[in-house]
Amino acid sequence: MCDITKEMVYDAISTVIDPEVGFNLVEMGLIYDAIIDEKCNVHVVMTLSTQGCPLHQMITTWVKEAVERIEGVGEVEVEVVWEPAWNISMAHDNVKKALAGM
């Protein structure tokens, strides 16, 4: 039985900040899911704010490393998907307010 929760994974990923916009990936709404199996292997499903982002590989590496810092975690996989495409409505309210004045 694994005691790592989705919330713990999201907390770990929230230490990763997009240097262009200055917000972390969780509040940007870029993390779609974190699937944790009984052996504590974590599969993160995420997107990026734009395709062709030159930081693509680096960001996925940072996410992997951040999750790997959770005590007791097994294998960590990060999958980048483009469907559904990210849009500002997926971001947290503070991001919407800061970026778009919404």
Binding site: V21, G22, L55, Q57, W82, A100
Partner: protein, 411 residues
């Protein structure tokens, strides 16, 4: 899956000389404007010297450096031989210096400078084409890279033919060949490259999503066709063909502006940073350039043509470049010096890596300079033109200083 480019990113030491030198050439070009009058002809060699200083020394130098970084992003594959950029840089640097000195001071230097630039551009275009062959994707931006490099090669060949024509080694109509050369390089390479990269960079920095791409696809086809029509019209001296090409290109640029409008409507980031201000000014200048260009064709008055070209070069192309420098250079420096430290210590945000005040001064001095200088050309007033040149020079000083600080950040 959309592939990743950071593995293919060239080192900062390869790219930064293009940017730092391009900005120095820009500073020199703005300083040189102080010695020009608003009533000139394109046949003057000092004008040709300035145009080459600006277009080769600043525009092409920066574009070459930017493409070293952006080609892997756009084509989703590594460069065929990225190290050729170490050769391209000194060739272009010495070639531009030789050409400008040739136009301004010592005509004997012109063919040597031209030859070095020719070799630099051939290497650049061939490397781009070799990289294109490696890519498996087919997007509009990939197509623009292919077509723009094709036109660059045609521009190089016509430039070489002009040099041979001027030295008496080749019997060509230099005036017509010059039109073909300018159109192939400015319209075929610079404008097509800007159109292609706009589709990647503008939505990326503005966080715009879900827009229709039909207008830019039409714009691309019209500009490719229009440049070709003008090029061959000029090459064979068929005037009506050239006018047809001008019309097709104008419609193409209008479709491009429509696309930019669609992207702007869906822009998420509302902050008016230096990049956003520069984009607004650039596209405003492009619209003004088109209006003045149409008025020139209706009236035949040269001052309208001069002002139209001014707003195209100084307002649109230069602002597109300088605005993007404040995004691209901090990213490159951050990627090289701070990305490895993420998760280990606090790293700066990209917008913290340049002086907002310095960038703002650059923008306002430049914008005032473009407007005043353009007005000076329009009403053929030397005082207005010189005032514009003075503002532009001050803007260039701020660009130079902020660029140096950006490149030195975290060193």
């Amino acid at each position: 899956m959309k592939a990743v480019s950071s593995d293919f990113a060239p080192p900062l030491k390869l790219i930064s000389p293009f940017f730092s030198t391009g900005v120095v050439f820009y500073l020199l070009a703005m300083g040189a404007l102080l010695f020009f009058a608003p009533d000139f002809t394109y046949a003057q060699t000092d004008v040709a010297g300035w145009v080459h200083l600006f277009l080769l020394g600043f525009v092409m130098m920066i574009i070459f450096g930017a493409m070293a970084q952006l080609i892997p992003v756009v084509l989703e594959t590594g460069h065929a031989v990225v190290d050729v950029y170490y050769v391209i840089f000194p060739l272009l640097l010495v070639g531009v210096a030789g050409m400008v000195a040739g136009f301004w001071l010592m005509p004997a230097l012109l063919p040597y400078g031209g030859l070095l630039v020719l070799v630099a551009m051939i290497i650049f275009a061939v490397e781009n084409i070799a990289t294109l062959k490696k890519t498996t994707i087919r997007t509009l931006t990939v197509d623009t890279v292919a077509w723009s490099n094709g036109y660059l090669l045609l521009g190089i060949l016509t430039g070489f033919a002009i040099a041979l024509g001027l030295s008496g080694d080749l019997a060509v109509n230099v005036g017509l060949m010059l039109k073909a050369h300018v159109y192939a390089v400015v319209g075929g390479y610079v404008v097509l490259t800007i159109i292609g990269l706009s589709l990647i960079l503008i939505p990326m920095f503005s966080l715009a999503h879900g827009f229709d791409e039909k207008p830019i696809r039409i714009a691309f086809k019209l500009v490719v066709a229009g440049v070709g029509v003008v090029f061959f019209g000029a090459l064979f001296g068929v005037e009506w063909l050239m006018y047809l090409g001008y019309a097709v290109n104008t419609v193409g640029i209008l479709f491009y502006l429509w696309q930019i409008w669609l992207i702007a409507k869906l822009t998420v980031r509302k902050e008016l940073d230096i990049w956003a201000k520069s984009m607004i000014f650039a596209f405003g200048s492009l619209i003004l350039s088109i209006v003045l260009g149409v008025l020139f064709f209706l009236s035949g008055k040269n001052n309208l043509l001069h002002a139209s070209v001014w707003f195209l070069l100084m307002g649109f192309i230069a602002s597109m470049i300088t605005g993007h420098l404040y995004k691209i250079v901090p990213f490159l420096v951050w990627f090289e010096r701070f990305a490895p430290l993420v998760g280990k210590k606090k790293v700066p945000m990209l917008h913290e890596m340049y002086s907002k005040e310095g960038a703002s001064m650059m923008f306002w001095f430049t914008a005032a300079g473009v407007v005043l200088g353009g007005a000076g050309l329009l009403v053929v007033n030397d005082t207005l033109f010189k005032a514009g040149a003075s503002f532009l020079f001050m803007g260039a000083v701020f660009l130079f200083v902020t660029m140096r600080k950006m490149l030195a950040y975290g060193k």
